[in-house]
């Protein structure tokens, strides 16, 4: 059986891995139905109203799962990591307080949006989508900024092991915040865009090449197309930030064991922590130095140059990093391919291979989110708060956490199975004609 710390980490990891999918959809999907209903309102095109309606009702069920799994997380801070929260609560807690208000706003306007189709005027109804999209992005900012603080803790002093003189703004605007928040939020829009696009790509692949499916595919991919290239830039900036500010994590994600001037970028490969070398990688000379420090001859510190009980396990960081980067590049290529071809041929081209690429990108987008989050978390180890508190020291003194781990594993399996069944069945439902917009532009 796992010991307490391992069980607590596994349970926290499982809970976050589950929640992050719904959080990402909860951030990305509102932007999509905001745009779709906006187009419907402007042009009177019923198809876009159908889309907004369909996406919103899916958002409702996903948001609910996100809300309950997020509640679980807020309790797990105490149930699994009481020592950590006892230290951190007074420092980062107020950010969660602000996030609570953002969450409130999101829930309120989502309720209005989903249940208000026929109780609000079309314009008022569309306006409700704005606070949903904005507050979900603000929620992401708050939550991710606390993770930034765990990576770059600032804004407090420690006296007798207790935090004092907390400066809330310094805590929230920690050095890692801009990089992590941008990367995490953009990832949500990209993933939501591809997830929605894949549904329609799949329908088209099966021969349902209706106007409706085509419009929905283009709209969802357009959102992904705006954010996917930006995400590549944000990733590059994030890696450079790590090179300067969390060199252990940078070394682990590059698979760099020995300090080296003009370090190569390793593509693929397996970091062998026994022999302290990364095997089977394709090496691009000097590229890691160039990407990390804008200088091909800059020195990249290797993992061997740090105290060996203060470094992450490169085996849990380098592969995730590779997966994330590869998927990020793939997704950027897919949108360039799609819209490049459309521009070249002056019409939307939906060839079989292109549709398959879009469908593949959807699960990969979420895998990239999981991978990015894994590398952030594993890359910070053995610290829960970088250079302040070790993960093992933050855990609960309680025995038997492994039982709770198994219990929640079953809960998540049940939840995921129910949801999958529901969404699968829903997709097989035919479209139904909608009642005309009350007072909308298409009413004769």
């Amino acid at each position: 059986m796992f010991d307490t710390v391992t069980s607590a980490r596994a349970l926290m990891g499982m809970s976050l891995a589950f929640h992050i999918v719904f959080a990402a959809v909860g951030i990305g999907l509102p932007l999509l139905f905001l745009i779709a209903e906006g187009i419907a309102l402007r042009t009177g095109d019923e198809h876009y109203r159908q889309m907004a309606r369909r996406w919103a009702r899916t958002a409702a069920v996903l948001f609910a799962v996100g809300a309950v799994s997020g509640t679980l997380l807020s309790f797990e801070f105490g149930l699994l990591w009481p020592t950590w929260i006892e230290f951190s609560g007074g420092i980062i807690g107020f950010i969660f307080g602000l996030e609570g208000f953002a969450f409130f706003t999101e829930a309120i306007f989502l309720g209005l949006y989903i249940y208000g189709w026929d109780r609000l005027s079309p314009r008022a109804h569309w306006l409700c989508s704005i606070p949903i999209a904005v507050s979900s992005a603000i929620s992401a900012f708050f939550v991710i900024s606390t993770n930034g603080w765990m990576n770059q803790p600032t804004g407090f002093d420690v006296v007798d092991g207790k935090p004092v003189d907390v400066e809330p703004l310094a805590v929230m605007f920690n050095k890692a915040m801009p990089y992590e928040v941008t990367h995490g939020t953009l990832a949500s829009y990209v993933a939501a865009g591809f997830a929605v696009a894949a549904v329609y790509a799949f329908a088209m692949l099966r021969g349902q090449r209706s106007d409706y499916n085509k419009k929905a595919l283009v709209l969802a991919l357009a959102v992904a197309a705006v954010f996917a290239p930006l995400q590549v830039v944000s990733g590059d900036l994030s890696a450079r930030f790590l090179a300067h500010n969390q060199p252990e994590k940078f070394a682990a994600l590059e698979g760099q064991f020995e300090s080296e001037k003009g370090a190569p970028l390793r593509i693929g490969g397996w970091p062998d922590t026994g022999d302290k070398t990364t095997r089977f990688a394709i090496e691009i000379p000097k590229a890691a130095s160039l990407l990390g420090f804008e200088d091909p001859d800059a020195e990249v510190r290797g993992l061997n140059s740090f105290p060996q009980d203060e470094i992450p396990d490169a085996r849990l960081v380098h592969p995730w990093f590779q997966a994330m980067v590869a998927i990020g590049v793939f997704m950027a290529l897919v949108v360039v391919w799609f819209f490049g071809l459309a521009w070249w041929r002056k019409r939307i081209d939906t060839g079989r291979l292109l549709l398959l690429a879009v469908i593949a990108a959807a699960p990969l987008a979420f895998l990239a989110i999981e991978a990015g989050w894994c590398l952030t978390e594993f890359g910070r180890q053995p610290w829960v708060i970088y250079h302040v508190m070790r993960t093992a020291d933050g855990a609960t003194p309680r025995e038997g956490i492994a039982w709770i781990l198994m219990l929640f594993a079953l809960v998540y399996v049940a939840l995921a199975a129910g949801l999958a069944l529901l969404l699968f069945r829903e997709q097989r439902q035919p479209l139904k004609p909608l009642a005309p917009l009350r007072g909308g532009p298409n009413v004769p």
Partner: protein, 341 residues
């Protein structure tokens, strides 16, 4: 009022709001389980329609309470989490299944695909959650949690598997059913209204009986709690709770339905307020005082400044939500007509 007392008051207000709003949603599960007679399906349907737009918002109050605790009183949050591990895990499983079952049921309704057993899961989860949460809150006031040198020494089971926490857990379930029945009287009409009136009257009697039993049980099982009950402030608040409870009986008996929701909410708020008054100035009786476990002043000040700013956005939005969806849910909604249910 000192900053830490203000923060504790915010936690209590959050708990009351969770009980008054979120409690009614759990009560929806209680009455889904107990739906009976020729109109059983209608009763369930009316409850589901009333809850749909608001339950997630109502749920956020719980998160607010948790956040206030770990921000303003980190050591107490850590110790409560450690001491109450088992009931909190039970409540969390309930929260997850309740929310998921509700969302799945609504979604399944709209798209005309159902999942099996969503009603049953929703009902069971809606009952065990307030039971476990009520027991957990009561345990913190029972004196059953032991803390030595800053570390929790009581076991996983014995602090909360005791008469007083269990009775309080039952009180919490009864409160939820009570609130729902009272709220539904303004949203139902005809025979359905009579159903909810009868349920409201029964629930108020059950709630009255359970809260009355809770006092001798406290005397016998939760000495630190009992010692504090006899102070003047708790006595006054609890007296007011009793009066409000009696008023709620009269209101339904005389069919003054417009008064039913505020009176029911007031009774529940006073019961929990009285509980808070008993616990003051402790967070964990009799070990941790509010003042001893509070975070630093800069933290408390930042938090207490953020709250009213957030409330400026929150309160108008909440009003908009409740006003938009406050009408009777008896007839079919336009969406129901459109989707044919």
């Amino acid at each position: 009022m000192s900053l830490e007392n203000l923060a504790a008051a915010v936690a209590l207000v959050g708990l009351i709001a969770y009980a008054v709003f979120g409690g009614a949603d759990f009560g929806g599960g209680v009455w889904t389980a107990l739906a009976s007679g020729r109109r059983a399906a209608e009763q369930r349907e009316a409850i589901f329609r009333a809850m749909g737009p608001v339950w997630e918002t109502n749920h956020v109050w719980l998160i607010l309470v948790v956040v206030v605790l770990f921000t303003a009183f980190p050591p107490a949050f850590a110790d409560l989490s450690t001491a109450l591990l088992v009931p909190l895990v039970i409540a969390l499983v309930g929260i997850v299944f309740r929310g998921a079952a509700f969302a799945f049921r609504h979604y399944g309704h709209v798209v005309e695909v159902g999942l099996p057993a969503t009603n049953a899961v929703f009902s069971v989860a809606s009952i065990i959650t307030p039971l476990a949460l009520g027991a957990a809150v009561a345990t913190a006031a029972s004196g059953n949690i032991t803390i030595e040198n800053g570390a929790v020494t009581s076991g996983l089971w014995e602090p909360w598997l005791q008469p007083f926490p269990i009775v309080c857990g039952l009180v919490a379930v009864a409160m939820c059913g009570f609130l729902t029945a009272y709220y539904m009287t303004t949203r139902a009409s005809g025979e359905l209204l009579e159903d909810f009136r009868m349920r409201g009257l029964i629930a108020s009697l059950v709630l009255g009986a359970l809260t009355t039993i809770a006092l001798p049980v406290a005397y016998w099982d939760a000495e630190p709690f009992w010692d504090q009950v006899t102070d003047p402030v708790p006595l006054v608040v609890m007296g007011a709770a009793v009066a409000m409870g009696l008023a709620s009986l009269v209101v339904l008996w005389r069919r003054w339905y417009l008064l039913a929701p505020p009176v029911a909410a007031g009774a529940v708020a006073l019961v929990i307020g009285g509980f808070g008054a008993v616990q003051y100035p402790y967070l964990i009786l009799p070990h941790e005082r509010i003042a001893d476990v509070a975070a630093g002043d800069s933290t408390l000040a930042a938090f207490l400044i953020a709250l009213p700013i957030g409330a400026l956005i929150l309160i108008p939005s909440l009003v908009l939500l409740y006003v938009t969806f406050s009408e009777k849910t008896g007839g079919p909604s336009a969406e129901a007509e459109e989707y044919g249910y």
